[in-house]
Symmetry: C2
Subunit: 410 residues, 2 copies
């Protein structure tokens, strides 16, 4: 018998029928002897409906009141799921974030969890009850309702699992696990049985949308075994663990992540002296624009150029800021490009394998795909390429690193 925290997202509880299906699933785990804490999101569409009501009044509602408003979405789901469990003879009790209580800071709409009181949950579990908790929400030290921001229900589940020292935290979603890459781009993509937290974080930060980054960080920090699996079909899903396999057969690369959300901004012919990067990127950062990949060219004649990627929505704003900076620096010009894509191969195996980058670059070169920017970390190699080559590049690398071949030995 083990203690499992399960999280079901908005799609999984989107209708009464689906809530009943979740209740069946939970009852199955209870009947198998497990203690269960369930975290649920708002029924799909509900959060947007609530936001639309507020937007009918004003485009700039206060964050405090928005949190009071949208937190009702999960509150509806916890009550309905508890009712569905009770109907099945499964004793259950629902709690809002404030009731648990999940203590957060007072940063409305993007609060961070500071502490979780596990006493009430513990008492209910000891009494044989299923505990149903509203995801995504908490309460600040003053008793105000807060929310963790979109996707925060994953974080709630992981935080509860950490607070209860649960044996596993299961995130039920509409996919059946983490794949080597997006199956819509590469039909031969393969579900991974296991992936490390580090790899998962790199995959997520590169655009793999299966889990919220914060929840993975949290799980890694508190060593909570995390499993991603499907609400709608049976299966083992993907386990996200601390341990690396030391199996010899372990592939070097675990997965390929990519996104089309970014744009490239370049400032040409800037004087090559200390502090120049800061003079350029400082104003960008002050404007709250997040910068991702940054590349500075080799200086040839005392002048250089600097390229970086930002979210496409921020491209114009960044270019406007750079135009001013360029004038101050006597730089030649700035160039923007939103027809790029970012692509990364990820794998803890890279640490102990040489030649991974060379293999990646050769595979792309063989298909005449030009690499515009390169950025590397210990377990990841990121390249920026022209957007139109993205699908070809993903399939090429998926094949080159034999991700679809034989199932990973574990």
């Amino acid at each position: 018998m083990s203690l499992i925290v399960q999280k079901y997202g908005g799609t999984s509880v989107g209708t009464i029928e689906r809530i009943e299906a979740v209740a069946d699933k939970v009852k199955g785990f209870r009947d198998a002897g497990h203690d269960i804490v369930v975290v649920v999101s708002a029924m799909s569409g509900e959060t947007n409906r609530l936001i639309a009501l507020a937007k009918d009044i004003t485009d700039t509602p206060s964050n405090r009141e928005m949190d009071v408003l949208v937190s009702t979405g999960e509150q509806v789901t916890i009550a309905l799921l508890a009712i569905a469990l009770q109907k099945r003879g499964c004793d259950a009790r629902s709690y809002t974030g404030a009731q648990v209580k999940i203590l957060t800071d007072d940063a409305y709409s993007k609060a961070r969890i500071q502490d979780i009181d596990n006493h009430r949950m513990r008492a209910d579990l000891d009494a044989g009850r299923v505990v149903v908790v509203a995801g995504f929400q908490g309460v600040d030290p003053e008793g105000n309702i807060t929310t963790l921001g979109r996707g925060g229900s994953d974080t709630t589940a992981v935080a509860l699992a950490a607070a209860l020292k649960a044996d596993e935290c299961q995130i039920y979603t509409d996919v059946d696990g983490v794949y080597t890459t997006d199956p819509r781009v590469e039909p031969h993509a393969r579900r991974l049985d296991k992936i490390t937290f580090e790899e998962m974080l790199e995959m997520a930060s590169q655009g793999s949308k299966v889990l919220q980054i914060r929840s993975v960080e949290f799980a890694g920090k508190y060593k909570v075994p995390l499993r991603v699996l499907s609400s709608f079909q049976d299966g083992e899903g993907t386990l996200i663990t601390l341990e690396e396999d030391d199996d010899m057969e372990k592939p070097v690369v675990s997965g390929i992540a990519f996104n089309r959300d970014e744009a490239k901004v370049t400032i040409l012919n800037i004087p090559d002296h200390p502090g120049i990067a800061y003079r350029i990127l400082g104003p960008i950062s002050e404007a709250n624009i997040e910068v991702d990949v940054i590349v500075q060219n080799f200086s040839e004649d005392g002048s250089t150029s600097l390229s970086f990627t930002v979210h496409r929505n921020d491209m114009k704003k960044a270019a406007d800021i750079l135009a001013k900076v360029a004038q101050e620096l006597g730089a030649k010009s700035t160039v923007t490009d939103d027809r790029i894509a970012k692509l990364a191969i990820v794998g803890v195996g890279m640490r102990s394998h040489a030649g991974v980058a060379a293999k990646m670059f050769k595979a792309l070169a063989d298909e005449n795909i030009n690499i515009q920017m390169i950025s590397t970390s210990e377990i990841k190699i990121t390249v920026v390429i022209e957007e139109k080559y993205l699908e070809l590049a993903v399939r090429t690398l998926h094949a080159a690193f034999e991700l679809e071949e034989s199932p990973r030995v574990e």
Copy 2:
């Protein structure tokens, strides 16, 4: 400058436009220098929508979870009203019942208020904020969400007014005050400028639906001046006060209340000896059937008969119980009649005026309306008549006691 607690019901906040109209009204009071606490219900239809979701799962959801579920209705409204007030430059803050906190017992779905903490509200009022509170809900000593039952928002408003020692509690509704009788039956019905708590209670208990009985009791107990007025049109409404007018011109009868909700049950030819009423009504009460008017006939030959009224929905259940009792007592038979109506004239002036009953009975007799049952209290005379005569009886008495004539002098 005074402190006013205002309550707006579901119809008054039924759409975003109406919530904005309420915000305009509240801002008007703020601009006039008053401190305002607003209590709101769920948007009309919302509570029923939530109940329907639960009923899709089971017909017997637990009361605890139903309270978690339906309390979200008011929570949505408080956030939206606070947002609408802020948009008007009116600083505002919303609170759920638990946040205030409104402490209740743990009788889910029909909890009773035990205590109200006024500190947070006081601090906000002192800071110049409008305080927006969710009606109908509270929290038990264990931190579980409770609701006060339907219509409980009126009670919340009165209780907050008592806790804050407010100068007035204003209940905004879809009628513009308390009338001498239902204007749909008697077009000449007149709005009362004032009515005493006692009269209001008797009117409410006889079917006048303007205010919840509990809220009137509460207001009377804590001496909270209560005013009923329209959300949709300007006017002074009706003030419900402790003081009786000692004006000589004061009419004897203030209003006529009636309802069609009851049925009459009679048990014939029962032995006339002590304890017989208990042997009949005891089993009825044990079955949780509420009995209203009770009349026992004059005994002629050592046997008597007993009639009483119950809610029409309980008639069959009551008759079944009586059938058994009748057998035990050797009574002749039981008779039921659901074609009755109950009608009452109410007025504190009756205390000092003789002949009111006689005048009432004569007026009805003049129209050939037979009186089946009579029950009197200090400020009320109730009769049960055949249902088909109800409208005629109301209009006859309204005219007989000159309720439509000249406006009441105050």
